[in-house]
């Protein structure tokens, strides 16, 4: 029937079809939604700024102490802020049925999970990284320490998003998923915290930071490969 054939002008070998097209579609869709829901996107950022700002107020303006605890405080706050945004990573898609459509796509699910995680990091983790030099000022961190903090967060926050994606996939569709997610993911994130904050402390002490960055980079590469596979397997189980 000609009624149906007129839609078929675009063949399946067009440039935006196939796995790459599906990857880009999911990535762009999630970024677009993040842009349209600025209140949700911004809340994690505001939380991050407020938590970090509370510490100098609570501890008092003692430079030596602030300088020592600054890297740890910024890192812990970044960890908690990324937890806040994580709950929605798959929950919204599960609620409106688009998660099922992702499971039924001919594109491997792990690739789509990677696209979602990448968009999620751009809309949450990257913002935290960008504002961190400003927060470093509150703790009287020098230029070099602030730079190391920036770089360690740049390597570490994608890692938090990737590890978090596994937790978010495991808890999708559960009641009280938010608390469970934090309980699952926070312990797994502790190595990231240790090496991220450790890098800044090492630079403050005048030691080299190459080892810390190498370890963070290695963890990031491993997570880039393994986390989407684990999250995809968890999603298939969660949706049964």
């Amino acid at each position: 029937m000609s009624d149906l054939t007129r839609y078929r002008a675009a063949g399946s070998d067009a440039p935006d079809s196939g796995s790459w097209g599906a990857w880009r579609a999911v990535f762009q869709r999630d970024l677009r939604i993040a842009l349209r829901r600025r209140a949700d996107t911004g809340s994690a950022l505001v939380f991050f700024v407020i938590v970090v700002a509370l510490f100098p107020l609570g501890v008092g303006p003692e430079f030596g102490l602030l300088r020592r605890m600054g890297p740890g405080v910024v890192w812990v706050a970044a960890l908690l802020a990324s937890m806040l945004a994580l709950g929605r990573l798959f929950a919204d898609d599960h609620a409106d049925g688009t998660l099922e459509q992702m499971l039924l796509s001919p594109t491997p699910l792990a690739l789509l999970v990677l696209a979602k995680t990448a968009a999620h990091w751009l809309a949450s983790g990257l913002l935290l990284v960008l504002i961190s030099p400003l927060l470093a000022l509150q703790f009287d961190l020098g230029g070099e320490a602030a730079g190391v903090l920036f770089l360690s967060l740049l390597l570490g926050t994608p890692l938090l998003s990737l590890i978090g994606a596994i937790g978010a996939a495991l808890t999708v569709g559960l009641r009280g998923a938010g608390v469970l997610l934090s309980l699952l993911v926070l312990p797994l994130c502790s190595p990231v915290l240790i090496f991220g904050a450790g890098a800044v402390e090492a630079s403050q002490a005048g030691l080299g930071v190459t080892a810390h960055f190498s370890l963070l980079g290695a963890m990031l590469l491993a997570a880039l490969f393994l986390a989407p596979l684990a999250a995809a397997a968890a999603l298939r189980i969660a949706l049964e």
Partner: protein, 207 residues
């Protein structure tokens, strides 16, 4: 080996309750399968099982002779599943939703074709509003607009006529009939008999 969909000794258990067992059925190209049954009889579970979203407790689902779990990607290339939820993102417009859905299905998202599909679905002039302000029926139409786009052979539709008015029902019946005459397969759940012309084969299954 069949050219279509085959269910072999399929059983479904949800919780501790056995919903159905020993289900054998073959659906050839050009045939429609209507699944009917009381609420909670397992219609949606059967549909999810056909798609590979739900693992059968026993037996298997074969598409062209291959288990849908083993040949997952090749099978999903041929499949469109529309469940209870319309799978629309509330913050995106129907046009954006449609383009994402077709690209996710592995086809190209030609904008002119997508606009045409939405216009045929009765959503002309609504392409760019946020999907959140659409009515139930309009959401359903926006989801169904995906059917004529892409190359899928097997349509699995869960209660597709829900919330549709008479005009939209006629439009959907037209789409289904055209699809069947092209050699496509349709599986749907519906409480009413599907009013298609006698030329297309219908298989009814009461759970």
């Amino acid at each position: 080996m069949s050219a279509g969909l085959e269910l072999r000794d399929l059983a479904c258990v949800r919780g501790r309750r056995s919903l159905f067992r020993g289900l054998n059925l073959t659906l050839a190209p050009g045939q429609l399968l209507r699944v009917s049954g009381a609420n909670g009889a397992g219609k949606t579970s059967l549909l999810r099982m056909l798609c590979g979203l739900l693992a059968p407790a026993q037996g298997q689902v074969l598409w062209r002779g291959h288990s849908v779990h083993q040949a997952r990607e090749a099978f999903h290339q041929q499949l469109i599943y529309l469940g209870h939820a319309a799978a629309l993102k509330d913050d995106l417009s129907p046009l954006e939703n449609l383009q994402v859905a077709t690209r996710l299905g592995g086809a190209a998202a030609d904008e002119a074709a997508a606009r045409q599909a939405l216009a045929d679905a009765g959503l002309r002039g609504r392409e760019h509003v946020p999907s959140r302000i659409l009515s139930q029926g309009q959401r359903r139409r926006a989801a169904l607009a995906r059917l004529p786009l892409g190359q899928a052979l097997l349509w699995v539709l869960d209660e597709p006529f829900n919330a549709l008015d008479t005009a939209a029902t006629a439009w959907l019946l037209g789409l289904i009939e055209a699809h069947l005459q092209r050699g496509g397969l349709v599986v749907l759940t519906s409480h009413q008999p599907v009013a298609l012309s006698d030329r297309v084969a219908q298989v009814s299954l009461a759970l």
